[in-house]
């Protein structure tokens, strides 16, 4: 996100560094870079270097006796054997990792879609109809954002126990005769857990976008003869499309790396890609495999990540 300079000012990149021509203020060349220095150095050491370590571990070997990873830091000695074995576990015949991969995509798509449907309705209501309760609705919508994900999932775990309140309520309404074992590896529990956990991230961008749509735009649509549903389809929906896509990406990204929802609300039968990584990280001899799995996850999420960054930059530039 390069800052846009005002029209008519030329950027000077000469030996004098950046000079602001309008005020004549003059800074030494090192002045502004020195502000970014600490942050940049920090990220190089603790953001870029860790990824390089992942590569070195994934393409390295294992110490034969202790079975700890033996990373190879020179790219020309990298060995891709473990990486290709790990890849094969995802699609070649005894594809032991394939179910988790398919499950991850199914759960993430289902949960993101449910997030969108509920989130859109809620954001639409809050932006257009909340009226004098707007602040209260907003505060309540934002509250889950600041409650720890873990506590919220833990709360559901308690409610969904065989003797928990969900089964009590279902039993009292005579909907079930015996307690439902919600936590025994039911996909629906994990999907709803994911929805519950990440939906605030969907509602906020949607609310922001729907709130910015001028009522006059909708009135214009109505005046020009569109029915309410046409106005929604052809005015509101296209105007909120960037927020829909951004919201989908921002909820899907963490879901791809999620392992705790399945661990707390499901069993082995609902384990996701994140669970594969989480179990292999701590297992002796599995270091290169853990690294390979992280790389594969990185490949899965890099496109949506870059898309999100591009879209937010575009939104910032047009604002």
């Amino acid at each position: 996100m390069e800052t846009t300079s005002p029209p008519g000012t030329k950027r000077r990149r000469g030996w004098r560094g950046d000079a602001d021509q309008r005020s004549g203020a003059w800074y030494p060349r090192w002045y502004w870079p020195s502000f970014t220095g600490p942050g940049t150095l920090w990220l190089v050491l603790l953001f870029v270097l860790p990824f390089y370590t992942v590569l070195s571990v994934a393409f390295g070997t294992v110490e034969p006796f202790f079975r700890t990873p033996l990373p190879v830091y020179q790219p020309w000695y990298w060995n891709f054997a473990t990486f290709s074995t790990t890849l094969e576990k995802l699609y070649v015949s005894p594809a032991i990792y394939q179910p988790a991969l398919i499950r991850t995509f199914t759960y993430v798509f289902a949960a993101s879609f449910i997030c969108l449907v509920i989130g859109y309705a809620v954001a639409y209501y809050a932006a257009r109809f909340a009226g004098k309760h707007r602040v209260l609705v907003l505060v309540l919508l934002v509250a889950p954002f600041w409650i720890s994900y873990l506590m919220r999932i833990y709360a559901w775990q308690s409610l969904l126990q065989p003797d928990g309140y969900v089964n009590d309520a279902l039993g009292a309404l005579h909907l079930v005769s015996s307690p439902v074992l919600w936590l025994s590896g039911k996909p629906v529990t994990v999907i709803l857990g994911l929805v519950y956990g990440y939906i605030p991230f969907m509602i906020l961008p949607l609310y922001g976008s729907l709130d910015r749509i001028e009522a006059s735009m909708l009135e214009a649509g109505r005046d020009l003869g569109a029915s309410p549903s046409q106005t929604f389809r052809r005015v509101t929906l296209p105007l909120s499309k960037p927020a829909i896509l951004a919201g989908l990406v921002i909820v899907a990204l963490p879901m791809f790396g999620d392992y705790y929802t399945s661990n707390l609300l499901g069993t082995q039968q609902t384990s996701m890609f994140g669970n594969l990584i989480d179990t292999s990280v701590y297992q002796a001899g599995q270091g290169p495999e853990a690294g390979s799995l992280v790389l594969i996850l990185m490949v899965i999420v890099i496109a949506p990540m870059l898309y999100y960054l591009r879209e937010t930059r575009r939104a910032a530039e047009s604002a």
Binding site: E2, T3, S5, R13, D18, D20, S23, A25, W32, F35, G39, T40, W42, L43, L46, V48, P50, F51, V54, S56, V57, P69, Y73, V122, A126, F129, V137, L138, V139, A143, P144, F145, W146, I147, S148, Y149, L150, M151, A155, Q157, S158, Q161, D163, G164, I199, L204, D211, L253, P254, G257, Y260, L264, I277, V281, V294, L297, M298, M305, L309, A316
Partner: protein
Amino acid sequence: MSSATLVPPTPASSTASRIRGWRKNPWRRPRFLQAITIGYLLWSLIPVAIAVVFSFNSGRSRSTWQGASLRWWNGDPFDSLFHDPTLRAAMLQTFRLSFLTVLIAVPIGTAFAIGIDRWHGRPARPANFMMLLSFVVPEMILGVSLFLLFTNLFKNLVPLGTTAQLLGLATFQMSYPVIIVRARLLSIGPEYEEAAMDLGAKPGQSIRRVLLPLLSPAILASVAVVFADSVDDFVIVRYLSGPANSEPLSVKIYSAARSSPTPAVNAAATVMLMATLAMIIVGYLVYRRFARGTGDAGDMASFTQL
């Protein structure tokens, strides 16, 4: 689940007339959307409220109410939150990590934001890109990467434990102040600083005495956000925790939830909740106070959408 119980059962004919009425006047309140919103709010907040209430359960169960007591907060001399040494250590660790993360991430992030806003040199772009990437990367990926870093390349430099957790948390949180402060920088523009320099301030003086006061709402908002988010953090902190006493509350709750938790876990979660909410409320109030009269609306919406 609650939305179904909230909508009174309406006969089909009245539904039809309602739709006709909506066609006539689409600006009236749509009951259906209202029901979904109320249902959503109940669905999102009631489970948490129940979890808080159960921290006052007198029995061992976290799902069956057995009467009210302070047993799991203070009463039980061994297993209550304020007496169990591991939970006490975890509480301390949570606040230590969050406090120190704020001290590291907010100043570095603020300086980065100012620098990147003013510096038009070529390397500014990749540096900024790297910062934004650290904002969107799934925490899982960063956590495992840092774990592999501290167990391999930095093995003899930084052992797993508080220092590693702090470095990891600060890395993950640094992008918040950058984004919040930059948004503020864009809205205040360079004019005030230029005026100060025209009046004879040196670059350092104009930053210290003009820019930083103008940025203070954004910096305070960053403090609140980073603190609250660090209290809640779990993935990175768990991968980088070393000895048992370096595990903060979030990690304890996770481990307990997977075995057999007592309501003391609910009490621990309630402490986290209170810490986060208190920080956010204080942050919001201070933000509103500082943002007053500077062109920012200073309402909840602009605070939450930072």
